[in-house]
């Protein structure tokens, strides 16, 4: 078979352009990570992870902030997983994209997932803090984050459900399974790897979120005593230390370092789970 090669000159130019772009992106990320690592790692010790902050965060640790962040994430996931799975199943299995309702649902989610987080923050403030009377609390913050993460999670879960071959649906039906059984016994396990990836993207967005939380979970940096207590997340702590507290840079770096480690850990855990599931269904070779 013969094919026409690109003229050598423009070929080289294109290749170098592609490599140049890739290199630039890698360099910027590596520089950022290296900066955080070098400035932050020296502060990290057990005391920093467990002690409460003192002197507006200039000294002390991030113990309560770590706890608040995990609690906010927990509340967020508790709301996102059931509602998200339900929504995705509804869209993928019951509302075909051809139907008017299905189309409008999908368009709405598309719009919601591109709304700036500060808008979600204000919405959460009005709905959860004021109207529902939850005040500035971890609950309000987690639920607001859930509103933000849900559109992304529903769409990605829906897509992983839709990518499952119809032959499985037919195979299940031919065994006399009803639609619910097909969904929960065959499709849901098959979609799990895709669902975890969607969840991971959502969690990443939730952990990085600052704007939506300032208006909902609040600023207080003491150890929360319940979900109705206000709590400060890691991202807000970084924002506060670097913008509002002079001399807080060192601890801001250290907190950023911890946040990155947290995200990497969650990533590794999720990818490991995904591999496990994919191995079970035979998508990757058993090791």
């Amino acid at each position: 078979m013969t094919y026409r090669k690109l003229p050598t000159k423009s070929g080289t130019l294109l290749t170098s352009l592609v490599w140049g772009c890739a290199g630039l992106i890698v360099c910027v990320s590596v520089a950022m990570l290296a900066d955080i690592l070098m400035s932050g790692v020296s502060q990290i010790n057990w005391a920093f992870l467990t002690q409460p902050p003192s002197d507006s965060g200039r000294s002390g640790g991030i113990g309560p902030i770590l706890v608040s962040t995990l609690l906010i994430l927990f509340v967020c996931l508790c709301a996102v997983i059931p509602i998200g799975l339900g929504g995705a199943i509804l869209l993928a299995e019951y509302l075909p994209s051809a139907s008017a309702l299905g189309r409008s649902f999908r368009a709405t989610l598309e719009i919601l997932s591109s709304i700036p987080s500060i808008v979600f923050g204000l919405f959460g403030n009005i709905l959860f803090c004021d109207l529902l009377g939850l005040k500035f609390s971890i609950l309000s913050g987690g639920l607001t984050l859930a509103c933000m993460v849900l559109p992304i999670f529903i769409r990605s879960t829906e897509q992983s459900l839709q990518s499952i071959s119809n032959t499985y649906r037919h195979g299940g039906a031919a065994l006399g399974m009803n639609k619910t059984e097909v969904i929960f016994q065959i499709l849901a396990p098959a979609a799990l790897p895709g669902v975890t990836v969607g969840l991971l993207i959502g969690v990443g967005r939730a952990l990085a979120e600052t704007a939506a939380l300032i208006f909902t979970s609040g600023y207080v940096d003491r150890m929360p005593s319940s979900l109705l207590d206000s709590g400060r997340s890691l991202s807000i702590h970084i924002y506060d230390l670097s913008m509002n507290v002079t001399g807080g840079d060192a601890n801001a770096y250290a907190t950023a370092f911890i946040l990155i480690v947290l995200i990497v850990l969650i990533n590794c855990f999720t990818v490991a789970m995904k591999d496990l599931w994919m191995r079970q269904r035979g998508d990757i070779e058993c090791l």
Partner: protein, 281 residues
């Protein structure tokens, strides 16, 4: 009912007939189909289908692609319900009930009338779980009894010796032929009265295909089999009855049906004659 059955048996024995097709003896007929028509979004794919499918025998559906054989097969367990825009009219009597009626219990029908697909479709999970899901549908609950039947079904399809140490292996890691035998085992878990097979060997290599074919022939003792096949030699080897489908203008229909030997030996219809001699395809 039993008197009728006796009468039919003695009638057949007396007449030495092995061909019950179209002679309307209800108790020995699995499906009585009258004036069946199938259309996809108003485009007719199958019309004027009148056929009796005999019980306890293998019926092969032959004919060129696109003449409605698969659509016909999908009507027999109402899998057509899953195809958007598909409409079916006419009657299919199964156990003296018209299964095409809206209120007919489709779930129960599909448990009695199993199906094996063209491409092996084991669920994306372990071999064990594939059978467990089917056995659960068949009402098995205890781990012990589930395992015993699992072994029995795998032995029936000749897969037990090959997979007994790998039950927790992903089913998709099996070879195509093994996957198809697993799918047959899965369908057999519900002890169906009828097994519908849509070109079950077409995606397999000749050796796997021969094994599956052997298996199908051995299943005749336990259930009625309706098989779509493009392999005329296979149809001739394994089937007792043959139904020839053909395109008539825009829509498929049946041109001839009867005992396999007479259909292949003395085809009554010119199209059948040319098709089986290879002049048409």
């Amino acid at each position: 009912m039993s008197i009728g059955l006796e009468f039919n048996r003695s009638f057949i024995e007396a007449n030495g007939a092995s061909d019950y097709v179209d002679i309307g003896l209800a108790p020995l007929v699995a499906f009585e189909i009258s004036d069946l028509a199938v259309a996809y979004s108003k485009k007719s794919v199958l019309s004027h289908v009148n056929l009796n499918i005999p019980k306890g025998a293998i019926t092969a559906l032959i004919g060129p692609s696109g003449c409605g054989k698969t659509s016909f097969l999908n009507c027999l367990n109402r899998m057509v319900d899953l195809i958007p825009g598909c409409s079916v009219t006419g009657r299919i009597n199964y156990n003296s009930q018209n299964i095409l009626e809206e209120r007919h219990d489709v779930i129960e029908l599909r448990r009695r009338v199993g199906m094996v697909f063209q491409r092996p479709n084991p669920f994306p999970t372990t071999i064990k779980r594939n059978l467990e899901l089917a056995l659960y549908q068949a009402g098995f609950r205890g781990a012990e009894e589930t395992h015993i039947s699992m072994e029995a079904q795998l032995r029936r399809v000749g897969l037990w010796e090959e997979v007994k140490h790998d039950l927790n292996k992903p089913a998709t890691r099996l070879s195509g032929g093994q996957q198809q035998r697993l799918c047959i085992a899965r369908a057999l878990c519900l002890s169906p009265d009828v097994l519908l097979m849509d070109e079950p060997c077409s995606a397999l290599d000749p050796i796997s295909s021969a094994r599956v074919e052997e298996l199908i022939a051995s299943l005749k003792e336990q259930c009625t089999i309706v098989i779509v096949t493009h392999n005329l030699a296979q149809a001739r080897r394994i089937s007792d009855h043959c139904v020839m489908f053909w395109m008539n203008g825009a829509s498929g229909h049946i041109v001839e049906s009867g005992a396999t030997e007479s259909l292949f030996g003395k085809p009554q219809n010119a199209i059948t004659a040319s098709y089986i001699s290879g002049a048409l395809a």
